[in-house]
Amino acid sequence: MVTVAGIYAYAPAIAALPLASFLVALFAGRWLPKEGALAGILATGGSLVLSAVTLVELVLTGEGYDERLYTFVAPAETFDLGFGVLIDPLSAAMLVIVSLIAFLVHVFSLGYMNDEGEPGLPRYYAGLGLFSFSMLAFVFASNLLMAFVFFELVGLCSWLLIGHWYREAAPPSAAKKAFLVTRFGDYFFLVGLVGVLATFGTARFAGEGGFPAGPTPVSALIHAATMVAAGVFLLARMYGFYALLPTVLAIIAFTGGFTALFAASMAVVKDEIKQVLAYSTISQYGYMMLALGAGGYVAAFFHLTTHAVFKALLFLGAGSVIIAMHHEEDMWLMGGLKEEMRVTYLTFVAGSLALAGIFPFAGFWSKDEVLFETLVHGLGANPLLLGGYLLGLSAVFVTGFYTLRMVMLTFHGDPRTDAAADPHGVGWNVKFPLAVLGVLATVGGYLNPAPLAKLTGAEVDFLHRYLDGPASEELLTSAHHYGDLTHEWAGYTAGSVAGGETATMLGGAGLSLALALAGAGTAFVLYRGPDPDRHTEALGDLRTVLVSNYYQDEYQVWLAEGLTLRTAIAADTFDQGVIDGAVDAVSSVSLFSGDRLRRLQTGVVTNYAALIALSVLLGLAAFAVVGGWL
């Protein structure tokens, strides 16, 4: 355990402040001005300041923090069931990102919810506060149990927030579906958690007492199980655990590359702006998984950071457009918004260029590093990684295409509806978050411009140096340590094409930039002009497959209704008919035989006399046979 007095003692407050705003909004929200929004803004603003101070402390002192906060149940046997705070470079940086976005979302909500006169605001801000609390506590969780607990609470908050407009039919259904899909993943997470605890007695993330190596069948099961649900941050958090298994890592990478392309292809044909962004998010998570699987721990976290910024920017920008469009989300009913919404347009374009991976915006640098790490480790004789690289590279073209298609349809051309011709203005509370994120999406790449560092030899790969800092060395969570692990256990080595590492790097970067530009250029050509056509119609049957998301929904509905519900109804029929039928049959037989036996009791004395005589005779006969009198 590393213990530093001082500022770290306040780290729990980073999560506790939004918890307080949850309680305030829930119980007192309706009497407050702005109905809980101000409490949330103050709380997440406080979290942001505290996280920033924590990060500075970490950089200056080079010391981390790993402290138990609360004992869930006193340790017995060897189990360790407690909650704690782990501050290392990974969690300190993530705390800043999460609290920044939580803060900006609260500010933006003033414009999106309060100014639009939405009902149920205290409930909304309570949900948002609980969400921020759960997410922040998840980030500084010091062990897997705590991570699971807050991961589940995040799931609850998603259910609450997705289903916010519960008086309509669709949101509660969507909320249920989202919760059930994550719940299915949580099942594997829980199996993994219980397996880790039961096998190792502890599930701490940091230090020697963390996950021990040992490829027993149980730990293989646990690896597979936790991996299904973990999510990118948790994969990074548990990297020391995964880095030990070569096949698992390569499969993560390949799945990541596949996800990047698969989800991007669905975003191509979507008509609703938020749907494009949703599928794009899945695709970008694919890149992060690709990087982690390929041994690019720093690259993965770098892309996680830049993506958090530019995707938050794009979602808030879409929200701004939706306000302006009087809650219309279909991009075919928009067009020409750039004239009326300068701030939204400019920031949205910055976010889009970052998403598409175009130089010099943030996403270019991080995506390039992801692809570079995959390529070099793939060239080090690992075909699965090379496959993942090719998938990820193809996705770059698709990403460029759907991103620019979205921009063109929303902002360019002529307004296609009255609402688009005369959009509803948005206030400072919408523009301010967009502006902050817009600047970050533009310059965020300089956090870790690895190619510049390699070419010039200047020490500008700040994020890499930060993640390798002394604090993480001590806690055994450093990028360097993970690099050794992947090298030693998973056998990852770097390879390169002819011309050496620099040529590989520059060639790879040039290739991905060219593909991004080609994708974006294609979309620009197809959708320019005042009234663009629906070119995706030309895809024919393929479009139908993509619009219906490769029939995943049908498959899930079949799983829920066709399979599970039918099994349940069959079980019910069986239960009523056979099991309860047997119970009722026992009672019917008793009643029936009772009824028949009752008929002996006729109340007529001569009948009784006859029965007695008959019985005596029968009895005598029986004794005669058994007793051997005959």
């Binding site: 199996v191 219980v194 039961a198």
Partner: protein
């Protein structure tokens, strides 16, 4: 004398309430039930026992005097509490008070008899958990059936007579099977025990003093191992009906659907725990070797109860039936924890008894509050109730998520302990597989509860029955909100109960640890 007071106050109170005027019965009953509530909370705070009451631990609040002699056996009045029974007693008094409160709105006929029976049942339930002599325990055990029979049969729904008789006859036959099994053991112990005291019998059995049981007049005898195994099966079946475990569960949905809300709360919250409590006290404390021998079939029954019960809940469209079948599912976890025979397994099973008691009580009470307003429980008859009854709907949401095992609520702690204990069980072969199979229940439970909420609470408001739906009365809301508070309290600080529970259950498994 505290235990006696806890039994006597509701017993005398029941007699008083039964002759009081109907107008005052509800308030009088609430007042009477507050006394054991405060008493049991005091007993919780002042608890100074340690260890297991049956295995030579320090019993708290103990009373012992000789009562009568039956042949070679002394039957004593012996009561006392340990870390297993005290939490159950506290839960009984809490749920009785809250059930009485929840009865104010729906019960508008023969109130004095109704509340009299509720108090009588409370006295009998405290007796079941406190008794340490078999015959004394059996008197309380059977006494519980009587008030419940009348509560269902008089104040129940349209099929109340069928449900009440089914409940009574089914559980009574089960008691008979269990009784025979237990006395076969007592006779098998022969001179080794001189009383029907549960501690004496338990310790003699664990010391291996069971002999062959001679069959009078034949010269034949049942060998000790056969005797122990058949007695274990007889007692297990007898208690399994009460729990209930699949396939002995079909009385439960009928009883729940027909019972008035307060009786449902007591039935799910406390009466089912009599079954698991008895399984722990008798089968798993007295005959650990037989429990280990039969571990695989018992674990299979537990997993089937979890999954099959959850699937049945998914197929229902009556809110009460949904909650009733999910009780079958949740009680399966208790059986799994018990059969795991490990520190967290048995401790978690004991914790789950309390967690499930509070959570299922909460859900039944909330369904009752909806029913008072809508006069229907059919999911298809209503939608968008959250629009008219926002607080009650929020409480239902909280209860449903507690049932799904949301962390920081009591159900999660219980399930986590059970899964941990079961996963590393040394007694149960293939323990991780059984555990992983039972865990899948957490997905199905989320499915049927979220679906039920989506259909009945959310969407546009619609009600097929012709009633004005408005906010629920304050006393109804107070009862359900109190339960939510307790569930969150136990979920965030399970130590409040787990400490004393594990102290009492560890003795049960310590010897189990030495089993082959």
């Amino acid at each position: 004398m505290l235990v006696e007071a806890l039994i006597a106050v509701p017993l005398v109170g029941a007699a008083v309430v039964a002759v009081a005027p109907n107008e005052y019965a509800e308030r009088l009953a609430l007042g009477v039930s507050a006394v054991p509530l405060v008493g049991s909370l005091y007993m919780y705070l002042a608890f100074d026992g340690s260890g297991n009451a049956l295995l030579g631990g320090d019993v708290a609040y103990e009373t012992f005097f000789e009562w009568l002699t039956l042949g070679p056996y002394a039957v004593n009045y012996h009561v006392g509490l340990d870390g297993i029974s005290l939490p159950l007693v506290v839960m009984t008094t809490v749920l009785t008070t809250l059930s009485i409160l929840s009865a104010w709105t729906p019960i508008d006929d023969r109130q004095r008899q109704f509340y009299g029976l509720m108090l009588f049942m409370e006295a009998a339930l405290v007796g079941v958990f406190a008794a340490l002599d078999f015959l004394l325990w059996f008197v309380f055990w059977e006494a519980v059936l009587v008030p419940m029979y009348f509560l269902i049969g008089v104040w129940g729904g349209p099929r109340r007579k069928y449900a009440a008789i089914k409940f009574f006859v089914y559980t009574n036959i089960a008691s008979l099977v269990m009784f025979i099994g237990f006395f076969a053991l007592v006779f098998g112990l022969g001179d080794a025990v001189g009383s029907t005291g549960l501690p004496e019998i338990a310790q003699a059995l664990r010391a291996g003093q069971l002999g062959a049981l001679g069959l009078p007049g034949t010269g034949a005898a049942i060998p000790a191992d056969v005797l122990a195994l058949s007695a274990f099966v007889a007692m297990f079946v007898g208690f399994a009906v009460k729990v209930p475990v699949v396939p002995f569960h079909t009385w439960l949905p009928d009883a729940h659907v027909e019972a008035p809300t307060p009786a449902s709360v007591m039935l799910a919250g406390v009466l089912l725990k009599m079954g698991t409590y008895a399984l722990l006290r008798f089968n798993f404390t007295m005959l650990p070797e037989q429990a280990a021998t039969l571990a695989v079939p018992i674990a299979a029954v537990a997993v089937v109860s979890v999954i099959y019960g959850a699937l049945l809940a998914l197929a229902q469209s009556d809110l009460k039936r949904i909650v009733a079948y999910s009780s079958v599912s949740s009680m399966g976890y208790v059986i799994l924890g018990l059969v795991a025979y490990s520190y967290y397994g048995v401790g978690g099973a004991t914790f789950q008894m309390i967690a499930h008691g509070l959570i299922s009580g909460l859900l039944f009470m909330t369904v009752g509050v909806f029913y008072n307003a809508t006069h229907t429980r059919m999911v298809g008859d209503m939608s968008g109730l959250a629009d008219r009854m926002p607080v009650t709907a929020s409480v239902f949401v909280a209860g449903a998520f507690a049932y799904m095992g949301l962390p920081l609520m009591a159900g999660f702690a219980a399930e986590l302990f059970i899964f941990l204990g079961a996963f590393r069980s040394t007694v149960l072969p293939a323990a991780p597989l059984f555990t992983a199979a039972a865990m899948f229940g957490i997905v199905v439970v989320a499915g049927y509860l979220l679906w039920a909420m989506q259909r009945s609470l959310f969407g546009p408001f619609r009600l097929e029955t012709d009633y004005d739906v408005g906010r629920a009365p304050v006393h109804d809301v107070a009862a359900i909100v109190t339960l939510v508070g307790l569930i969150v309290l136990l979920g965030t600080a399970p130590e409040l109960l787990y400490d004393m529970m594990s102290d009492a259950t560890v003795d049960v498994v310590e010897m189990g640890g030495e089993l082959p």
